[in-house]
C-alpha cells in the first residue's frame, strides 16, 4: 500500500471535464514520469492531487499510502506528506523565504512545539548549498523578482525542507536553461530514495536525461494511454505525440 495511487480519477473545472478516468500508481521509492501534449490535462492532475479548490473531483480516488485525500483541504494533504512543485510558483510580496519556510516546517510540528531556529537555519543552508542558492535568498520575498531558474530551485528547496512522502513536479524543467536544469535535477536526484515517490510531469524528454525515471506514462485526453520504461520517452521524442494519438480512438485523441 506504500504508494500514491490514483484510481479512475475524473476531474472537471467548471463544467468542463479534464481528467476522464485516470489510473496511476506511484510506489514509494520510484520515479514516474508523465508526458503528454499540451492540453492533455497534466497540470490539472497535479492541481487536483494537491487539492486546488477550482478543480472538482467528480469520481475516483487519490490514495496516499492507502488513505484517501478526497475532501481534505490542501494544507492537510500537504501535512500528510504530499508536495507539489508548481509550474508557475507564486510570488508572495513582503513574506521572506525564510519566514515562509519556517511557517511550513512549523506547521508539521506537534501542537505546542516550537521550531528550533538554529537547527532550522542550519538545515536550510545545507539544502541551499545543494541547490547553489546564495544565502541572500532567505531574506528575499518568496519568488518575488526571481528568475525562472531561481523560482524552480526554490521549489526544490521547499521540497528538500518538507521531506514529502510523495512529490509531484509539474513542468519543473520549463523555463530553465541547461545549467539551471542540471542544478535542479541534481537536487531532485539527491532527494530521491526509498522514502519518497516522485511524479514528474513534463512536456519534453530533456528533463528525463537528468532525472532518469523508473517508468514513463503517456497522457492524452485526460487519461494515461500508454506506459512503459524510460525507452518510451525516447520513442516519443523521436516520433512525436502523434504516433500515440494515431493509435487511439477518435474521441480520446482530442484534448
Amino acid at each position: 500500500m506504500s504508494s500514491l495511487s490514483i484510481r479512475n480519477l475524473h476531474v472537471r473545472i467548471g463544467e468542463k471535464e479534464i481528467l476522464r478516468g485516470l489510473n496511476l500508481e506511484v510506489p514509494k521509492g520510484e520515479v514516474h514520469a508523465i508526458m503528454g501534449p499540451n492540453g492533455s490535462g497534466k497540470s490539472t492532475l497535479s492541481k487536483a492531487i494537491a487539492g486546488h479548490p477550482d478543480y472538482t473531483m467528480t469520481c475516483g480516488e487519490v490514495l496516499l499510502d492507502g488513505e484517501s485525500v478526497l475532501g481534505l483541504d490542501p494544507d492537510v494533504r500537504a501535512r500528510k506528506g504530499l508536495f507539489l512543485a508548481f509550474q508557475y510558483p507564486m510570488e508572495i510580496p513582503g513574506v521572506s523565504n525564510a519566514n515562509f519556510l519556517r511557517a511550513a516546517v512549523q506547521a508539521r510540528l506537534p501542537e505546542g512545539e516550537e521550531l528550533e531556529a538554529t537547527e532550522f537555519y542550519a538545515r536550510m543552508y545545507e539544502k541551499m548549498d545543494l541547490l547553489e542558492m546564495p544565502r541572500a535568498f532567505t531574506a528575499r520575498s518568496v519568488n518575488e523578482g526571481f528568475s525562472g531558474g531561481e523560482k524552480k530551485r526554490n521549489e526544490i528547496l521547499q521540497m528538500a525542507m518538507l521531506e514529502p512522502r510523495y512529490a509531484v513536479l509539474d513542468e519543473t524543467d520549463s523555463g530553465l536553461d541547461i545549467d539551471a536544469l542540471k542544478v535542479v535535477s541534481n537536487g531532485v536526484n539527491t532527494l530521491r530514495g526509498p522514502g519518497m515517490g516522485i511524479l514528474l510531469i513534463t512536456h519534453y524528454q530533456r528533463l528525463l536525461d537528468y532525472i532518469v525515471p523508473d517508468y514513463v506514462h503517456v497522457m492524452v485526453g485526460g487519461r494515461i494511454v500508454q506506459s512503459g520504461g524510460k525507452g518510451l520517452a525516447l520513442e516519443l521524442e523521436e516520433k512525436g505525440y502523434d504516433f500515440i494519438k494515431e493509435g487511439l480512438p477518435e474521441e480520446q485523441s482530442v484534448a
Partner: protein, 448 residues
Amino acid sequence: MTTATLESDPAGKAVGNQQPLLLEAGAVTTSSTPAFREEQAAAWGRFKEVPMPVRTDERWRFANLKAIQLDAYRAPAPVDAELARTLLDRSREMEAVAGRLVFANDQLLAHEPVSEALRAKGVLWLPLERAVAEHPELMARHFMREGAVLGSQKFAELHRARVRAGSVLYVPRGVEVELPFEAHHWLCGEAGSAFPHTLIIAEERSRVTLVDVLRSAGEDAGMVCGVNDLWLGAGAQVTYVSVQDWSRRVAGWQVNATVVGRDARATALALQLGGAHVRSENVSRLRGQGGRSDMLAICVADGSQEFDQRTLQVHEVEHTSSDLLFKNALDDKARTIFAGLIRVDSGAHKTDAYQKVRNLLLSDEAEANSAPGLEIEADDVRCTHGATTGQIEAEELFYLLSRGIPLRQAQRLIVNGFLHEVIERLGAPCIGEKLADRVQAKFEAERR
C-alpha cells in the same frame, strides 16, 4: 492585572467615576503658567462654540458621527501607586532609548531624562508642563501653531483646553541623536479620557527619532484626543512613529501636523491596532525647497473597528516632495475611511507628490472607503494618487496552503507581507521589528 481593582470596585466607586464629566470639567486649571492657563480657558470657550461636525461637511463624508459621544466621558482620573508601578513595568518598547516619558491618564509617571552629553548639547526632552514653565518662548513659537484644517477643530480646541501630558523634544542645530526617544500614554479606568501631546522641534541639520506608544491598561471604555506637531528646520531629519493599541471600547481623535523646512526630511508612521472608532488627521506642509515628507500608516482593523483617516499634503514652495503610503487590512465587519488631498500651491513647481492607499479585505462584510484627491495650481509637477481595494489572491493562498500552512496562518502571512512594504519604508529596522511584533500580537490575540 492591577486594572481589575478599577473595574471591579463593588461600591461602584471606581476612580474614574469620581471625576467630573468631561463636558462639565472646563479647561485645566493647574496649568504651569498664568498665561498658559488663560490660553487653556480661552480654548475651552472655543471648544464650546465650535459646532459638532456634520455629515454635510465634506471633511466628514463617510464618517460615523454617532461615534462622537463626548458626554459619556469623565475628566482624567488619578492613578494609584500600584497601577502606576504595573504600567511602568509595561512601558518599555525599545531596548535602548535616549529618553523616556510615561504618562497614565495624563499624569506623569516617569521621566527618564537625556544623557548628560545630550543635555550639554542643548537637547530638551521634557514633559509638556515643564516645557511650558521653563521654555515659554519656544512653546509660543511652536505649540499648536498649525490649526486643525481637516475637520477636527473642535477636538483640537478640546485638546488645547485639557492638555497636561505630553513630550516636548527640542534638538538644536546640528545635533544628531542616534537612539530613539520613547513616550507612553496609558488610558485607564472606565469612561476615562486622555489628551496626549507630542511636540518635536528639530533645528537645522539635526536628526532625531521618537516613538509614541498609546495604549489602554485594560478593557475599559474611554476617549483620547491627541495632537502632534513636528517642526523640521533646514536639513533636519525626523522619524516619528506612533503605535496605537487602545481597548476596543475607546474612541480616539488625533490631529497631526508636520512642517518641513528646506532640504529637511520627515518620516512618520502610524500603526493603528486598537480602538472602537479612531479618527486621525495628518497634514504635511512642505515649506522649504528640497523638503520631503513620507507619510505612512498601517491599520489592522477587525471586529467592528472603524478607522477614519484624513490627510493633506501641501506643497507650498517649489522642489518639494511628499509620498504617502497607507495600507489597511480589514477583517470581519471593520470599516476604514481614507480621504486624502494633495495640494500644490501656485508657484510650487517641480513638486513630486504621491499618494497610495491599499486596502486588503479579508471578509466580505468589511468596508473600505477611499477618496484620494488632487488640487494643483502649479506647472511641471509630478503627482500620482490612487486607491486600490482587493482581496487575498486565491492562487497565493493556495500556494501557501499547498505547503501545509493552515488557512488562518497563511492569511496572516499574506497580510504581514502586504503590510511589510510600509514598515520597510520607515527605514528603521529595529523599530520596524517591534511594529511587526505588535501586528503579530494582535493577530494572536484575536479569536482565542
